[in-house]
Structures are given as C-alpha cells and as structure tokens.
C-alpha cells in the first residue's frame, strides 16, 4: 500500500497510508470505532477505490470478485441467512457466483464437506444457520471464506458477540489456518487481548493514518493508551505472552 487516502463521499476516512504486510503473516487490524477498519477491508476487496495512491494485494491491483481473498463479514444477518442450512451457506461461497439454480452436485458436496472439516463443523453442517451458536456461525463463515482456497483471509470483527471461550476457539482456528495453509490473515478487532499470543504484526488506525508494525516493536503502553483513549498497561509474562489491561 503506497500513500493511500480514502474518502467516503466527501469525508476523508484516512490518508498517508504506506506499508507492506508480509505474505503469510497473521496481522491484527485495530483502531477505535469509526477509525476506518471496515473501510480498509472494503478497499482490499476492491469494493471502494482509494482517492490517491495505489494498493497491491497478493501482487496484483485490487479488484472485486477476487477468489484469492476470503471474507468473513462482520455479521451474517440472521434475518437473511438464518433460514438456510449451514452447508448451503458454505456452498454459496463457491457456487453462488454461477448462473442457474440449486446447490446440488456431488463435486460441490465434496468440496463443502472438505471446507466444513477444515473448521471442524461437520457435526452441525446440516442445521439451519440461525439454529447454531455464535461460535459455530463464525466457523461456518470461515468455512465459506475458505472454500475458494484463498491465499488471504479478511476477518471483520469475528469475535463480536462471542464469550471468552468462543473468542479463544476462533482465534486458535484462524491461527491454525494461518499456520497450516500459509494463508495471510488480516483480523479486524477492537480487542487485542485474545489475539496477542498468535499475531505477528498489527495495523493500527489512529489520528487518521493506518500504520503497520511488528507486535514486539509497537505493542506498548503508549500506543495502546493512544488507541483506546484510556490508560492501558502492558505486562509481559514468562512465556512471552503480552497482556494489556485497562485501568
């Protein structure tokens, strides 16, 4: 990303963004509400164009419909997706861009089974999306994103609405995908704590400019206090994990 600025209508969301995210990394995207985290996701997906500068994703300019980028959206609306089967929602990730009707076919079913297995969701694939728990819904969303075998995964606030155990589950799963498949992960969150054990780097959006840094270099009390706008303390434990605490 080189000298990128982005506007929504006439409003400047952020500007002066110049950074490179290493391929294969697990990067958190963090910033206060309204700082433009979702805008960054949308920009990488090609849904909006930068007003200045240039962005390359996986060695090519951004474009919509790139199957090499998997998206886990902020919240699947239960009003819309709740009535259909988990496995059909996953199948749509692959077949949903094709003409015609129906989600049948042995090849499709096998690919869906594979995607469900990758997120350990075989046991509830046959249930309606609205009937499974929040954590299970996130697993289904991740399976759907993985079905095109993307090289990059964008997750937009996948931890919202999950309890602590559920958050840890999802982070472990994403870490596993990042580690085993070499998928580059951009993980949008407003809470860094559940991620700190696994991320390599972060993009932080403060004062109208996204900046990139390696975890060890940038996670300190000063940065987090600026990010959250409230005093935050950083403690390093014996096994190298970093914890942040709001006082």
């Amino acid at each position: 990303m080189h000298d990128v600025a982005v506007h929504r209508g006439k409003r400047l969301i952020w500007s002066n963004a110049t950074f490179d995210v290493p391929v294969g990394s697990f990067t958190a995207v963090i910033g206060p509400n309204g700082s433009g985290k979702s805008t960054l996701v949308n920009l990488l997906l090609g849904g909006i164009k930068p007003s200045t500068g240039s962005i390359d994703v996986l060695g090519a300019p951004t474009r919509t419909g790139n199957p090499e980028i998997g998206l886990v959206p902020q919240n699947h609306s239960l009003a819309h997706a709740g009535s259909i089967l988990c496995r059909d929602l996953v199948a749509l990730g692959l077949a949903g861009t094709r003409w015609g009707v129906g989600l049948h076919g042995r090849d499709l079913a096998a690919t869906v089974d594979e995607a469900l297995a990758a997120v350990d969701a075989q046991s509830f694939g046959h249930l309606r999306f609205g009937e499974v728990s929040g954590g299970q819904q996130q697993r289904i969303s991740i399976a759907q994103a993985l079905i095109t075998k993307p090289r990059m995964l964008l997750l937009d606030e996948p931890l919202s609405g999950l309890d602590l155990a559920g958050q840890v589950d999802i982070v472990e799963l994403v870490h596993h995908i990042n580690h085993e498949r070499g998928v580059t992960v951009l993980f949008v969150t407003h809470d860094l704590n559940p991620l700190l054990a696994h991320i390599d780097s972060l993009i932080y959006l403060i004062d109208g400019t996204p900046e990139f840094g390696m975890v060890d270099d940038v996670v300190d009390s000063g940065l987090l206090t600026r990010l959250y706008g409230t005093p935050v303390q950083v403690t390093r434990s014996a096994d190298g994990c970093v914890f942040t605490r709001t006082e």
Binding site: H76, S77, D88, L92, G93, T97, L127, V132
Partner: protein
Amino acid sequence: MFIATLVSDQEAASGLELLNTPFMINALIAGTLIALASGAIGYFVLLRDLPFATHAVAHIGFPGATLAVLLGVSAVFGLIAACTIGGLAIGAMGHRARNREVVTGTVLAFATGLGILFNSLGSAQTNLLTNLLFGNILAITTDQVVVFAVIVAIVLAVLALIGRKLLFASVDPDVAAARGLNTRALSAVFLVAMSLIIAISVTVVGVLLIFALLVTPAATAIRLTAKPTLVVALASVIALVSVWGGLIVATYQPWPPSFVITTIACVFWVLLPQLARLRGPVAAPQIATQTASS
C-alpha cells in the same frame, strides 16, 4: 353457489359442471400461473425481508389501475405499470427505505387515496373498487390469461437464470458483493419480477389480500424445509392448492374465492408446521444438544 350466482342459467349451473365454463377455465389457468410464480417470488421476498414492500407495491398498483380505467385503458396494464414503478422506487431507496416503515406506510396510504380519487373522477364503479381491493379471479379474461402467461414465463426464466446468484446476494450480501456479484443489479431485477407478479396477483386476491398468495405460502414452506429449491416448490404447491381450493369451494358455497384462497393459505400456515413437528420431532432436540455442546 357463489359462482352459480354469476351464471345466468342458474338451474344448469351447479357444482363441478361449472369448472367447464370459460370464466372458470380462465380462472384456473390464471390461478395456476400465479401460484407457480409466487413460490419463488415469495421465498426471495422472505429472504430479502420485503414482505411489507409487497404490500406497498400492491397499494401503489391501485391508483395505477383506477387511473388506467379513467383513461380508458385496461386496469391490468395500469396495475402492471404502477407496480413496476413502485418496485423500482423501493429499489432506488435501497437499504434506507427497508427499515423505514413509516415512509412506506405513508406512501401506501397516499397511493390508496389517489386510487379512490381516480375512481371517483371516472365511472366511480364500486365493482372495480371491490375487484381491485379484494380480487376477483372469476373476472379474468382470456386476453389477460395470455398476458399473465407471458409475464410468468419471463419471470420464471429470469429466476431460473439468476436464482443461485440472487440467493447468494439475498442471504449473504456482503460476501456476495466481495465475490464480485452486482448485488444492486440483482436487487433491481428481482424487484421488477416481484412487482410484475404482484400486479397480476392483485387480480386474483386483490390489493388487500396479496400477502396470502405472495408471502404466506413461502412462509409456511420455509418452516417445513431449509432447502431453497424445496421451499420454492412447496410454496408453489401450497399456493396452487389454495387457489384451486378457493375456486372449487366457491362452486358449492356462497363464499367469494378470495376468502377461501386466503383461508386455505392461512390454515396451511398454522397447521402444516405443527403437523411436521408431530411427525418428526428430530429438528428441535438436535438443535439444543448441538448448541449446548459447542
């Protein structure tokens, strides 16, 4: 009996013999065509959270029909034109309008008021008003049946083409857009298809009872099965049974078909999911254990 009152030779007109009269054949064909289309349309209406919009579009069709009659044109063409404009307007308002029931309700009331004005400026037929508001499947002409057949064929062909993309864009708009689907275009195409089917359904059940054909059968089917193609097929069958049932009952009883059609659709909606639950108590407990074990 209801139908017998419409036939001049009441002695000869009784029971199933009436099914062979021309207006009855038109009614059966038109009802079948609309039932076939309403299953698919109704499913997407539910997925896209548009039930209230169907009501609004039907009401916007009402002044179109009375204005058409005022101008000496067929009411059906007025309905088709006004419903399509209404559907496109709802599409243009996009997500903002969907949550604004007040806006939709206000437009709906205004449209209905206009409809009464146009009617009073014209012939002020109470017959026309009753037919538009409550439907009159027995008044459908052969010419109209031809128009309906063309519309239903086009709508079903389009849905067969875009069905999977529309499903993706309906249940999962963010990911569908990220995967390169033109969700706005899909939405516009669907709204036009929906408006056309609403326009012709008004002739059967009327502006006020449109829910019974366009929403209730799909709402029943979606509680019975989660498979998209099955929901569509089942909803069409429920709509078909409602329409045919309405026509057949009206040959024996002094009740208007619109009443019987809406009643059958509502009874299905109440009873079928209960029956399904009695037959297969699988779904509910399984969900409970799945959720608990996560």
